[in-house]
């Protein structure tokens, strides 16, 4: 009975003997990773549509670097090479979607390398990383190459991606110059929301088109059921609530919650990165706490912090707390009246 699946073959019609259950669901780690990557494709395509050839190059470079880093590290550590499980692909893709289209190509490559080698493989590989690799990769390159990582292009909508004009992101405009400057660019609130929704605005490759992101999120939430509402909804709702309460210039309740919920990387982060199985808590109630805290941190950083956008740091900070949440919040065992006080 020791060992994973022991096959014992005897003289009779060579029966396979193993411990049950003898049926397994058809899902595998690889199907999950590839499906999530697939769900990001609409956003990636919109990124290519808006930012042209540069976007394709960035996506390719970061994915290839991620896969190479994973394979080479695993070879160096004499572990089985598992790039076919799609997790390195997904990390690379997420990094590409999280950088501005203006960056030189070595930057996403550095991000992918750090994500895979330092954040994931050093900690024991898939399943053991404490932080979301893609987010650490992005944070690392944001700090290392601050200028390049905060230079955004306006969507050009041509193939070459040439003749791009740099501009600030909507959140950057709001933070540095106030609401008036934002409305100067986008004319009316309605137009602003519309631009945010379809994605015709400055930002990272994959974060601009809320419509495309929601399409993927819908697929994962309702069709594949790979993610649940707990983290993303509590995350987004908290950002909305807090920015509505404190985000305005005319006192309480004057903030623009819709703007805050649609802008920056919130939708991308909440649905595709905060929901990372490995780096978040696994008990549902803990996931709600995770989402609310991440939302609060995002709002705090956006409204009070030094960075215009806080989603990345909020998720990373909550990654720090996930083991603590896991430790304190356990599932309520069937028939256990009250979970015993833990040490």
């Amino acid at each position: 009975m020791e060992g994973a699946v022991k096959e014992q073959q005897q003289a009779q019609p060579q029966l396979i003997v193993s411990v049950g259950p003898h049926m397994r669901s058809s899902e595998s780690t690889a199907t999950i990773m590839w499906t999530v990557s697939g769900a990001l494709m609409p956003a990636a395509l919109m990124g290519v549509y808006y930012f042209g050839f540069r976007a394709v190059a960035i996506i390719l470079v970061s994915i290839v670097t991620a896969i190479l880093s994973e394979a080479l590290t695993q070879m160096a550590l004499r572990k089985p090479v598992t790039v076919s499980d799609g997790s390195a692909f997904l990390t690379g893709l997420l990094i590409a979607l999280n950088v501005p289209s203006s960056v030189p190509l070595y930057i996403p490559a550095v991000g992918s390398f750090v994500a895979i080698v330092i954040t994931k493989q050093l900690f024991g590989g898939l399943g053991f990383n404490i932080f979301n690799p893609a987010l650490i990769g992005r944070a690392f390159i944001l700090i290392s190459f601050p200028k390049q990582m905060t230079t955004y292009y306006k969507p050009v909508m041509n193939v070459t991606g040439m003749d791009a004009v740099t501009t600030a992101t909507p959140l950057g405009l709001l933070k540095e110059d106030g609401l008036a400057a934002l409305l100067e660019v986008f004319h009316t609130k309605a137009e602003l929301y519309q631009h945010l929704f379809v994605g015709n605005r400055a930002g990272s490759l994959g974060e601009t088109s809320i419509a495309a992101l929601l399409l993927g999120a819908f697929f994962l939430l309702f069709i594949k059921r790979y993610i649940t509402w707990h983290i993303p909804i509590s995350f987004i709702a908290t950002v909305g609530l807090l920015t509505w309460l404190f985000g305005g210039t005319e006192g309480l309740l004057s903030g623009d919650a819709i703007f805050h919920m649609l802008s920056g990387g919130l939708i991308l982060g909440a649905f595709f990165m905060a929901t990372d199985y490995v780096t978040g808590p696994s008990v549902r109630s803990a996931q709600v706490i995770f989402g609310i805290c991440a939302g609060a941190l995002t709002a705090l950083i956006r409204l009070k912090g030094g960075y215009p956008e806080g989603v990345m740091f909020a998720i990373l900070l909550m990654n720090c707390f996930a083991p603590l949440l896991d430790r304190r919040v356990r599932s309520r065992v069937f028939g256990k009246i009250a979970v015993k006080e833990l040490k």
């Binding site: 190459f145 601050p146 200028k147 905060t150 230079t151 540095e176 110059d177 030094g306």
Partner: protein, 195 residues
């Protein structure tokens, strides 16, 4: 009892010897340090008004709870510049500066003394020499930070707006203070400095 006495005595002996060493070193080094500090300050001030031969502190002023001083720089008996220490609230620190103005209270120069802004971003206020350079000759009313190329006003360093603003505000505060003290006829265009 005897042992106790021995322990106490030995400890006291160590204390005394060590104390003497420390006091000795202090008396040797403190004048050196005092002189060095004074020299540093003088050199910094001198840089702000190279033509002056005497720079004397004439008063104190403050922003909020923090205290700063200001100086008169004279060449012979003629005042050639007023120099003030000042600071502006930056991204992660207060950017401490020296600002010198001429007799018409136009900025002569700005020197950053100390800051802890983000490497690569905020510290461009020193690295990008044109930034501090553009303060030269500006009047108080021109001290406004813009995010586009300008000759009239101050152009922010892209990606380092907060640090740029820290410098501009610090300079503005100092200039306003100097106008109030020495400006006489000069009108302060926009009173009340936005910080």
């Amino acid at each position: 009892m005897k042992e106790m006495l021995k322990i106490t005595l030995s400890l006291v002996a160590i204390f005394v010897v060590a104390g003497m060493i420390m006091v000795g070193v202090f008396y040797v080094t403190s004048p050196v340090r005092f002189k060095a500090e004074k020299k540093e300050k003088e050199e910094a001030l001198k840089k702000m008004a190279p033509e002056a031969d005497v720079i004397t502190e004439v008063g104190k002023w403050n922003i909020g709870r923090k205290h700063y001083d200001y100086h008169e720089a004279k060449s012979g008996r003629r005042i050639v510049a007023y120099i003030a220490t000042t600071a502006g609230k930056g991204y992660s620190s207060y950017v401490k500066m020296l600002v010198s103005v001429d007799r018409d209270i136009r900025v002569k120069g700005v020197q950053v003394l100390d800051h802890a802004e983000t490497p690569g971003l905020g510290d461009q206020i020193i690295e990008e020499e044109w930034f501090l350079e553009q303060f030269k000759g500006k009047e108080f009313s021109q001290l406004a930070l813009l995010k586009k190329p300008t000759k009239e006003n101050i152009q922010a360093i892209s990606g380092a707006t907060i640090s740029s603003r820290a410098v501009t505000n610090g300079v503005k505060d100092a200039v306003q203070m100097l106008i109030e003290r020495y400006g006489g006829g000069i009108k302060v265009a926009t009173h009340g400095v936005k910080k």
